[in-house]
Symmetry: C2
Subunit: 593 residues, 2 copies
């Protein structure tokens, strides 16, 4: 059973990602290390004692739809009530609307624990938190007044309606229609798919944020507007009134996160209300909806990244516990006749060390992204600009790498269980099934890699990424300078990995500069992996140096001496692999061989 | 929908794995290239038209148990009947018992296709084929006479009963008891778990091969005997008679291969028969059961490896078809306003090329293993010894690498589908769920890696592996010598990968020689991967050279320039990674940090 790794989380926040400096700078108000630990300890208790025990029933029973009504798994509505009453929904929300205004770093750290408890449960509130941020930034005062307090308290939940059957990654292709009504509201018509918690029994009202197109909108992404469409129209007194013309037509039968209802939502087919059309309110300006949605999406990308960390952490714990208990064969050097616990076999040790190292590297990157988001929001002037670029740079890394790691680590964890891992009752398979969605939604990891290469790498003509690599080099130098035997060759290996990162970065910048976009795109995925491996290892080195010679040093040494050599191969794929790919790719078309 | 890649299979058999030489040598009797193609074409038709259409219902409905009776998915018993009436079960079985006596290479190639159609279906007959081989080699004439004809025709099926709750990988720990009866038969008592097709409705009788321990047996693996225990005792006239004292107590709820009943079998609890005890017949000698079982297990290891190839192939086809159809965004250089098919995006192209290259490398290794098995069986003297060592060497590679590739490629295929991939109706998730068992059963891939390092690598004091690497070097030299522009840097990259393989091999041989077993075991998994990548690439190079400058050359060039650089990192993990692993591993124990 999951135990919240509060010490590990506090260490990563503080000594790796920069919470120490955030607190010292005074930008985080009266937040103190003690308060951080108290909050995280209590969150960890809730995740382990309240959420995790309901994960299995959530997977087994799943969410169900009957006559437009969605029932979440047994015990989940009550769990949600306890969770929001604990104030967890309001953690990072603005104080003006009842939130606690705590840094994103803390919100992300607690979010990791909710997701380790049960990813299918945690994903619902995640969307509400993103919606709060979008409304706070872009909505009218009137809308804020009606909705924000309820959303911050968690009394109502929110959804994010982007995808349509023909428009997944490509939002420019969406067709949902919004018509202006005489009273300044809008009427929405259309179908949205893959809407997470689009319908459920956690709250009495649900606030949908919906991307749609006005009749006179320009084509493509410049003609998209954002609307707020409540399930129940809100009365003057703030209570839910008549049903709006929106409903859930079906829910998906998915590989995992069974407890999370993934809904097809129908807007404006006339099932409810006086005349067809779901009543909506504009958020922000007409045709500027994408900017508003990006606020939510960036938030959601990091939130999805942390799902990867969370599932990986749960898988590490589960596999380690099993490996300590299960006995098979005799390990080298084992004494007596007894079978050894499999944790004593070097091959299993390799698996477990890889799982732990990758999980911690993923966590370091995700928390560092949260730190950049906090700094961008809390600091000012050039500093804010700098940190915004850092957040931009880290967002695709923090979405893609941890979610890939989530799948890899969950799969390795299943493997450690042997045959038992394949049996659903064990729970290891469910972690892999849950983890598998995270590299897909909120922009596939391929799209993250493209975003990294084409938009984030060229920030400030490459100066920002160069500066970041320079910072990481200081970690490598510190490791080489430190008199810490436990680090082994970490400093040297890390320096070489950062050379690879630099070479690959310069190569891609050159290609972009020369208009060789296709060749640059061909290297996007290995580049992202290379970047994350090198940066993650540098961050863990930083943490090991802060912690002194011990287990952290041994772990990062393992990572450096066993996995960092991979950066050379990834660099070669980036710098020398494009031509062979683009040459061979013709064979993939219908007219290929 | 799956289409059998008959051309690809024939090419790999003939020009990569050595079927051409086998036919030329005359060892394969009157087998001709035309006959090979005719057989494979017909098998491909059956797999695509008869098996594949029933895969989805198999996954959805699964096998069910009620009152000890197992019902396979709707249509599956009829499918099995058609399959065996087509003579497919008898393909490689001995002619003496009604088989066609064809080479293992052909059997493995058809097995790939059955598994691509529906892995959960194909796995049942696979076990029968292994049992035929074990009985043919080790059973008494009397047992052969009663059982082999029925098993060869497929009228009855067989199972393989090894695992017990406390004895998975470690067969020495098993407890099932066999007592001698006065009439020369035995009575078995005990529980076996994870018994594939332990009970089903395909055939009227089921022949269990069961490992058990005699009361006076020495401890460990030297005290294990093999017994044949039929579900129904066989009458004098060869028809099934009274029920034997064995039944299926439960079936597992698994992540995938839902159509395959995974049974807990209870022997000798007195439910059937006059007195408690399942009646069994000894196969081979007392306490020598493991040797008999190894015949089945080696066969089963390659058969599981081919499952990886099969699922990977199905995933490649599915992802490519989707990528050609699905339109999102605009690819670099796209003309007009339309969205591009995602196959035009370089990042998707990279994914698809990796999937295809890895699948073909896995197939090349698996077929080469089948070739070695054929040569060991059909040739004689020193040649047979040589090929037996080759089969020994290739078996762990052919089990582990293709099954890892199966999972990786199925996961990449799911990713290509985006959100649709996570929806069960699409079928991409089912491929991943099915594929995920293959790295586990028949000896986890970690155990394969240990087997490779500790038993196969040291064959003939390393001379055999050195000879094999020498053969692979000839492929690299041929690539360098060939005037084939399409190969790009393939020859050079391959030569470097083989250097890595050689260095890693010599390093491990040295460690074993010095008694540093733990350090050698620490590198087992990266060594296996390195070996398979280098060998697989060499084999594909061979195939590309045979085919001439074209798509095959482009594919192996992609592999060489994008993935072969990984061998350097794997070599470092083998040669320089052990110390950091063994140092850090102490932290994994209960007393660790």
């Amino acid at each position: 059973m999951y135990r919240a790794p509060v010490e590990e989380i506090v260490h990563t926040l503080t000594h790796v990602a920069g919470l120490d400096r955030l607190i010292e700078s005074g930008l985080a108000g009266d937040l103190s290390p003690d308060l951080v630990e108290a909050i995280l300890t209590e969150a960890g208790r809730f995740a382990a004692e309240e959420i995790a025990p309901l994960a299995r029933i959530g997977d087994k029973e799943g969410a169900r739809l009957r006559d437009g009504v969605v029932t979440t798994p047994p015990g989940w509505p009550e769990l949600y009530r306890k969770w929001r009453e604990g104030g967890w929904n309001a953690l990072s929300a603005p104080e003006r609307w009842g939130g606690q205004g705590l840094p994103a770093m803390l919100a992300i750290a607690t979010l990791e624990m909710w997701n380790s408890g049960a990813m299918a449960f945690a994903i619902g509130p995640t969307l509400t938190i993103g919606a709060i941020e979008a409304l706070e930034r872009h909505a009218s005062e009137e809308l804020k007044r009606v909705y924000l307090e309820k959303l911050v308290s968690g009394e109502w939940m929110a959804t994010m309606n982007l995808t349509e059957p023909q428009a997944g990654s490509d939002l420019g292709a969406l067709k949902t229609r919004a018509e202006r009504a005489p009273d300044g509201t809008y009427r929405l018509f259309g179908q949205k798919i893959f809407i997470t918690y689009g319908e459920h029994d956690f709250t009495e009202n649900i606030v949908h944020l919906v991307l749609a197109r006005l009749p006179d909108a320009p084509p493509g992404t410049r003609g998209i507007s954002l609307f707020l469409v409540p399930k129940f129209l809100v009365r003057e007194d703030g209570t839910p009134g008549p049903r709006n013309d929106v409903f859930c037509a079906s829910i998906e039968h998915k590989m995992g996160i069974h407890g999370s209802p993934t809904c097809t939502m129908i807007y404006g087919d006339g099932r409810f209300g006086e005349a067809p059309g779901a009543i909506g309110w504009l958020v922000g300006e007409e045709n500027r909806g994408l900017a508003c949605m990006f606020t939510m999406m960036n938030n959601a990308r990091l939130a999805v990244g942390i799902q990867g960390v969370a599932v990986a952490e749960a898988a590490c714990q589960k596999a380690l516990a099993y490996a300590r208990e299960r006995r098979q064969g005799r390990a080298p050097g084992a004494k007596g006749d007894e079978m050894s616990p499999i944790v004593a076999h070097p091959d299993i040790q390799r698996t477990l060390m890889t799982m732990q190292a990758m999980t911690q590297a993923a966590r370091a990157i995700a928390y560092s992204c949260a730190h950049a988001i906090d700094m961008a929001r809390l600091s000012g002037g050039d500093e804010a600009t700098h940190w915004q670029m850092r957040a931009n740079l880290l967002t695709p890394l923090a979405k893609a790498f941890p979610t890939d790691v989530g799948v890899e680590v969950a799969s390795l964890g299943l493997q450690v269980h042997g045959g038992m891992g394949y049996i659903e009752e064990t729970g290891a398979a469910a972690l892999l099934r849950d983890a598998r969605i995270a590299p897909i939604y909120e922009g596939t990891n391929g799209i993250q890699a493209i975003d990294l290469v084409t938009r984030k790498l060229p920030q400030a003509d490459g100066a920002h990424v160069r500066g970041f690599i320079g910072e990481l080099r200081r970690d490598a130098e510190a490791a080489r300078g430190a008199n810490m035997a436990g680090l082994g060759a970490t400093g040297a290996r890390l320096a070489r990995a950062l050379d690879d990162l630099e070479e690959a970065s310069e190569h891609l910048l050159r290609l972009l500069d020369e208009g060789e976009t296709e060749a640059a795109l061909a290297g996007a995925t290995p580049y992202l992996r290379l970047f994350a491996l090198a940066a993650g290892a540098a961050m863990l080195t930083r943490g090991a140096l802060a912690a002194g010679d011990g287990a952290r040093a041994r772990l990062v040494r393992y990572l450096a001496e066993n996995h960092l050599p991979e950066t050379a191969a990834l660099k070669q794929a980036v710098t020398e692999g494009a031509q062979s790919l683009l040459t061979a790719a013709g064979d993939l078309s219908e007219h290929g061989r």
